[in-house]
């Protein structure tokens, strides 16, 4: 075995640009995903049955099929069905947001249920309407409780984001493959991006722990 990291050194800037793509992609997916997940979770606890059914059905669809299939469907079928030439990054963010919404809605629902029902009653007794009650009183407390779970969900998103390489997004993973194709070296570029993924995940985990500790101190 002769490893030659020197030969991929010139490609390093190219690979590192993928960090930005991957992070951007993850951030956007998480942002849209958690927002949509919050809306879904509200449907799940709604008193209106059809809304609950819809949310449950939605979740089961995205949990019951492979993510890579969802991704392929959105990317390849969108132009065919609505005639819109969707870009790989759009298709990726769209699919990941929808998928992450399904998973995070369960977490968020649990977080809302865990908020003392006295909080709801106090808000209601003051004449506060549903929307401000949710936005200002219930959700901030719910999110505080489930922050660790949402960080885990973000980490999963970050790792799964490598799947978008299959539809041609130039993320970290894809860039490793491009470099491999150019240099005919596989181990080196893959190891390099592997290390980068690992460092990003560890960074995120650390940041979450610091945040959690700080929040616990404020209690």
């Amino acid at each position: 075995m002769n490893l030659d990291f020197g030969q991929i050194l010139p490609s390093l800037p190219f690979i590192l640009k993928g960090v930005l793509v991957t992070l951007q992609f993850t951030l956007l997916s998480a942002l849209f995903g958690f927002t949509l997940g919050t809306l879904l979770s509200l449907l799940k606890i709604s008193s209106i049955k059809p809304l609950r059914w819809f949310a449950e059905f939605y979740t089961s669809i995205f949990r019951g099929t492979p993510l890579i299939l969802q991704l392929a469907l959105v990317y390849f079928a969108t132009p065919q069905i609505i005639g819109y030439k969707i870009s790989p990054i759009e298709a990726g963010v769209f699919t990941f947001a929808l998928n992450s919404a399904a998973y995070s809605s369960e977490t968020i629902r649990a977080g809302i249920m865990a908020v003392d029902k006295g909080q709801r009653e106090a808000s209601m007794s003051l004449g506060v309407a549903y929307r401000p009650m949710m936005l200002d009183i219930i959700l901030p407390q719910a999110f505080k409780n489930i922050l660790p779970a949402l960080v885990n969900e973000s980490i999963a998103l970050l790792k799964d984001s490598a799947l978008v390489s299959t539809i041609g997004v130039l993320d970290l993973m894809r860039r490793a493959q491009v470099v491999a194709g150019q240099t005919f070296l596989y181990f080196e570029p893959l190891i390099v991006v592997g290390v980068i993924y690992y460092v990003m995940v560890m960074g995120l985990t650390q940041a979450a722990q610091v945040l959690e500790r700080r929040m616990r101190r404020s209690d």
Partner: protein
Amino acid sequence: MIRIEHLVKSFGPLEVLKDISTEVATGEVVAIIGPSGSGKSTLLRCINLLEIPTAGHIFVDGVDITSSKCDILKVRQNVGMVFQHFNLFPHKTVMGNLTYAPMTVKGLSKADAGKIAIDLLAKVGLSEKVDQYPSRLSGGQKQRVAIARALAMEPDIMLFDEPTSALDPEMVKEVLDVMKGLADTGITMCIVTHEMGFAREVADRVLFLDGGYLVEDAPPDIFFTSPKSDRAQQFLEKVL
């Protein structure tokens, strides 16, 4: 003024309030007492529609709040409530707790809501706690903040559901003192309580509930000395 007519409340098959009728005059202080599970909280919670009555009517200042046309949020703005477990907003400071609803619901400016809050905190003796978070307060202080929070909406009616039951004994008095002061201001008060001494001293009338029935409705001196019903007599023997 509150007028309750043939109020019934059921949870599924369980009928918790059975044909309750009574009136509470403006400025009157009414103590609601009775054994556990008799429906005291439920009765109180019907008055601000935290529970929706199954049948009957409740009129608040002449408006039928059980009518489907009635704006529930409007009713609640005018009826403050204090809970056994305070239910302060833990992520807001004392100031934030007091100004949130006036700003959000009534659209008061931060400055105006703040002025009301400062005033009320002085009244409940907690001016120095204005920037604290609830977790830093003792139980008695929390409950006084909760009273101030409800008062910040400037309601005509205040409901109290066992406001001192979750407190250590040495903190009961500070809360009852605040409530006594409040009773003298002419606000209408309905108080579910196990503090018989307080009920006797402060209430204008006592409602005694048992098994969902309003069994006695009498001034305190009469209720505590010569209750009509056996059940009230038995209850008083146990608690006095």
